[in-house]
């Protein structure tokens, strides 16, 4: 129910307090999304979308920071634990 999907604003179509709207691309699939709660989000910004409205902007710097943290953990674990290096099969895609 609280599912929310990341997408990129490709056009702001209308302004207005209640119905600020824009086109958002979800990996190529474009939908109209209400942007009333992200007043400072514009063209090119990434947002998380839930039931037709943008919950908030995605902070790209924060995203990179967490990925960097995962990369560091990976580096460390590769040195000390064999399952990371030697073909890990426990992960179900």
């Amino acid at each position: 129910m609280c599912l929310a999907v990341p997408g990129q604003i490709i056009e702001v179509v209308s302004e207005g307090e209640l119905d600020r709207c824009g086109k958002v691309s979800f990996g190529g699939v474009v939908r109209m999304v209400n942007l009333a709660f992200v007043p400072d989000a514009g063209l090119g910004d990434w947002v998380v979308v839930h039931i037709g409205y943008a919950l908030d902007k995605i902070d790209e710097a924060e995203a990179l920071e967490s990925l960097e943290y995962f990369r560091q953990i990976q580096e460390l674990e590769e040195q000390i634990s064999p399952s990371v290096k030697g073909g890990f099969d426990g992960y179900i895609q």
Partner: protein, 359 residues
């Protein structure tokens, strides 16, 4: 896709799993509050990867599962009125009421329409004045801003044929009720990332202090869930507790103030009956008096009478983390997604449905 694939990379998942295995000196009991997280944990097999480190308790975070029988009955009654178009998220259609579900009401001639957003219902009401359009407003703090926005739009468009059946619920009072229970076994919490996107961290910081439990605000991809789990286990092993944000790309400390403002312009908190759990004080949202012209219960003079839930179903124990779905005697035998006895088997995010699909 950006912001998804990176958080599913098998190498990163493996490294996080290994790190968690090294951090955990024993098995800990974690509750993931949100049904979306339950779904991810089972879908990606995280519970199997960490079978010795984490006992996952699946929390009450599926609004479809906890909407009370009397509200389902009210929706069914509305759907059966000839003048009403009852609009609802698809998941709600097969949740059993005391007599029937919405899908049956539809088969019997009721007008039931599945919608993606309450904002769509406002548009439908604006173009079709021949019907009373009612939105069955279920969902947590994540969903409530859209309903509040829809109500505000309806007023600005001067619509008189739009109303809502308000069933919104709030996460922190439910978590508090579970942690306060003498039967509570939960040692740390994965808090619901998209609820916190709206509300911020405040309530979860308070819960962490009040109950001395580690809390990690967590996203929904495998790496997000493992990162939250790792943070909780690190705190548990070091005998610390705090509320930490492990979903910083989306969740800000103060949440989304514009969304909060809109919720509390239109709604106020009220006591609410949670299916299988009971009445939890201040755990729901109802329309404020000045917005009562959009309240379907008043508009159609509905009587909501408390109704009994199904007997064999142990959904209450499942939703409070006391039992696992496969401990229910009806699980996968008399209760399946095709013939659900209880709500957690209906919703795709219900714990019973997740066990049925992935186990």
């Amino acid at each position: 896709m950006k912001f998804i694939d990176d958080y599913r990379r098998p190498e990163a998942v493996a490294a996080l799993v290994d790190k968690i295995k090294r951090v955990a000196a024993r098995k800990w009991m974690l509750m993931e509050v949100c049904g979306g997280q339950t779904h991810s944990i089972l879908k990606f097999g995280l519970d199997r990867l960490l079978a010795l480190e984490v006992d996952w308790i699946h929390g009450p975070g599926c609004p479809v599962c906890v909407t009370s029988v009397e509200l389902i009955d009210a929706a069914v009654e509305l759907a059966q009125r000839p003048d009403v178009a009852l609009c609802s998220f698809g998941d709600m259609l097969r949740v059993p009421g005391s007599q029937r579900d919405l899908l049956t009401a539809k088969a019997l001639g009721g007008f039931v329409r599945t919608v993606y957003s309450p904002l769509d219902v406002v548009k439908l009401a604006a173009v079709d004045a021949s019907k009373e359009w009612v939105f069955f407003a279920v969902g947590f703090e994540t969903t409530a801003p859209a309903t509040a926005l829809a109500v505000k739009q309806a007023r600005s468009l001067k619509l008189t044929n739009f109303s809502i059946l308000a069933a919104h619920i709030l996460v922190p009072p439910a978590v508090e009720a579970i942690l306060s229970s003498p039967a509570n076994r939960i040692q740390a919490l994965l808090a619901p990332g998209h609820v916190c996107t709206v509300t911020g961290l405040k309530d979860y910081a308070r819960l962490s202090q009040d109950f001395k439990v580690p809390v990690a605000i967590t996203g929904f991809e495998p790496c997000d869930i493992l990162y939250g789990t790792l943070s909780c286990l690190e705190m548990l092993e070091q005998n610390r507790y705090d509320a930490v944000n492990c979903y910083t790309r989306v969740v800000k400390t103060n949440g989304n103030p514009a969304a909060q403002k809109t919720i509390y312009e239109v709604f106020e908190s009220c006591d609410r009956n949670w299916r299988g759990i009971g009445v939890i004080p201040s755990s729901g949202l109802r329309l404020k008096a000045e917005w009562s012209d959009f309240d379907a219960i008043e508009k159609f003079a509905l009587q909501t009478v408390e109704a009994k839930s199904e007997s064999e179903c142990i959904a209450g124990s499942v939703l409070q983390g006391e039992k696992k779905p496969d401990e229910c005697p009806a699980f996968a035998i008399r209760c399946t997604p095709d013939k659900p006895l209880g709500a957690p088997m209906v919703s795709t995010e219900g714990a019973c449905a997740a066990y049925f699909k992935y186990r």
